[in-house]
């Protein structure tokens, strides 16, 4: 696979803008790091002038140690066949950002998803209510500070791993041998 040239539109746009760095990570992948103020403008330019019409996904990463959320906008161009990933970071405390629904209709789903899973509020997004977790009352579960395993141990009971019928079987010489250290509490 040869290194593909980035198309000129994209390069001009990226050069026009300040406060961003871009890097071609593989033949068809471009990574852009951009400040949170500049991201909407960048997306608008990418869509309007560089044919990046397809918002593939918006991913959110909880960098709890940096106290930041990273939002990654994956954009695809059907003309130049490149995937641009625009990375930006927002503070974890406020957890608010601007919706790009007016640019990309698919954003509504991903923003709602991030809203329920991470608790990031997107201003201007059409459905800022719960969708998957409508009957979940706990904290946004995808946040790193939510310990799912602890919650599970606290909420649910487990099947006994040594029920009576198994003992009967063991008395007859069969059954499953579980060593004490393997017993899950």
């Amino acid at each position: 696979m040869t290194e593909r040239e980035l198309d000129t539109h994209l390069v001009t746009i990226l050069r026009e803008l300040e406060s961003l760095e871009y890097r071609q990570t593989s033949p068809r992948r471009v990574r852009i790091d951009v400040t949170r103020e500049a991201l909407p403008g960048l997306l608008e330019l990418l869509k309007g002038r560089a044919s990046y019409v397809h918002l593939s996904a918006i991913s959110c990463v909880d960098w709890i140690e940096d106290n930041e959320f990273e939002l990654v906008y994956h954009l695809w161009s059907y003309e130049s066949n490149h995937l641009v990933s625009a990375h930006t970071r927002i503070p974890r405390e406020t957890a608010r950002y601007i919706s790009v629904y007016d640019l990309y209709k698919p954003a509504a789903f991903f923003e709602r998803d991030i809203f329920e899973m991470f608790g990031v509020y997107f201003e201007g997004s059409p459905h800022m209510e719960k969708f998957i977790l409508t009957e979940w009352d706990g904290p946004p579960p995808m946040r790193k500070d939510f310990d799912a395993e602890a919650y599970v141990q606290e909420t649910f009971n487990w099947q006994s791993y040594h029920p009576d019928w198994l003992k009967e079987l063991e008395e007859e010489g069969g059954g499953v041998a579980i060593r004490p250290e393997e017993v899950r509490r």
Binding site: W136, P141, A148, V152, T155, F156, N157, W158, Q159, S160
Partner: protein
């Protein structure tokens, strides 16, 4: 922590309330049990990923209709509730609603390992772990996921149980409603309520036991009177 023995597979066969003097009654009961075992309509509810092995089991290759098993659309028409795989909490509420809407005798089969103990989602915050805490399970078919042959084998085991009159966990749901309701309340919150008036039904059909009502049903009644049908009234 409750153990598997609580699953009422081991419950003794209930003696009929009154001795039947008619010699034909035995034959009749036999016929009814035979019909119930040979005509099982299962609910068309794909609760989890195990449902993907049901279409093969139903359709041309394995053809469950040979055994009198057919998919049905609504809970009213169905006899068996197949819980096919993990049950997220949101789904579990619907499963309980659906189960209570089914007419008895009704049977629950837990397909896939996830219904036994959470399976590979054991650490998931969103899925319930032990199905038998919330519903009386007749039969588990373990595996991830069990093959159509296993499903059919499980069905045949259930048929044999029904025909011999051994398995009647659906009665357990009426008799120990308080226990099941308690577990449900633990998971869903104290103000959990389904539209079906299980206690009323248990009393209407003489299925109530000493544990039908208890502390949990009192919590239920504290929030709301059960939904009682509109009575026909002239005045």
């Amino acid at each position: 922590m409750s153990d598997l023995s609580k699953i009422p597979i081991h419950t003794e066969k209930h003696a009929p309330e009154e001795a039947r003097t008619n010699p034909l009654a035995g034959v009749f009961d036999e016929l009814v049990r035979f019909a119930q075992s040979r005509s099982m309509y299962m609910l068309h509810y794909c609760t989890g990923c195990g449902a993907i092995e049901l279409p093969p089991a139903m359709t041309s290759r394995f053809d469950m209709e040979r055994l009198g098993i057919q998919p049905m659309v609504t809970p009213r028409q169905a006899d068996i509730l197949l819980v096919t795989g993990y049950v997220s909490v949101k789904t579990l509420k619907r499963i309980i609603l659906t189960y209570e809407q089914m007419p008895s005798p009704k049977y629950v089969i837990g397909i896939c390992s996830c219904t036994v103990n959470g399976g590979m989602y054991w650490q998931s915050y969103a899925t319930a772990k032990k199905l038998s805490e919330y519903l009386p399970v007749d039969l588990y078919i373990a595996g991830c996921m069990p093959r159509p042959e296993a499903v059919i084998e499980g069905m045949r085991a259930l048929m044999a149980n029904i025909q011999s009159g051994e398995t009647e966990p659906w009665k357990d749901y009426y008799q120990r409603y308080d226990y099941y309701l308690g577990n449900q309340q633990h998971l869903f919150g104290d103000n959990w309520q389904t539209p079906t008036d299980v206690i009323g039904q248990a009393q209407h059909y003489g299925l109530a036991g000493p544990e039908t009502e208890g502390e949990h049903t009192r919590i239920l009644q504290q929030y709301q009177q059960p939904l009682v049908a509109h009575k026909l009234r002239l005045k």
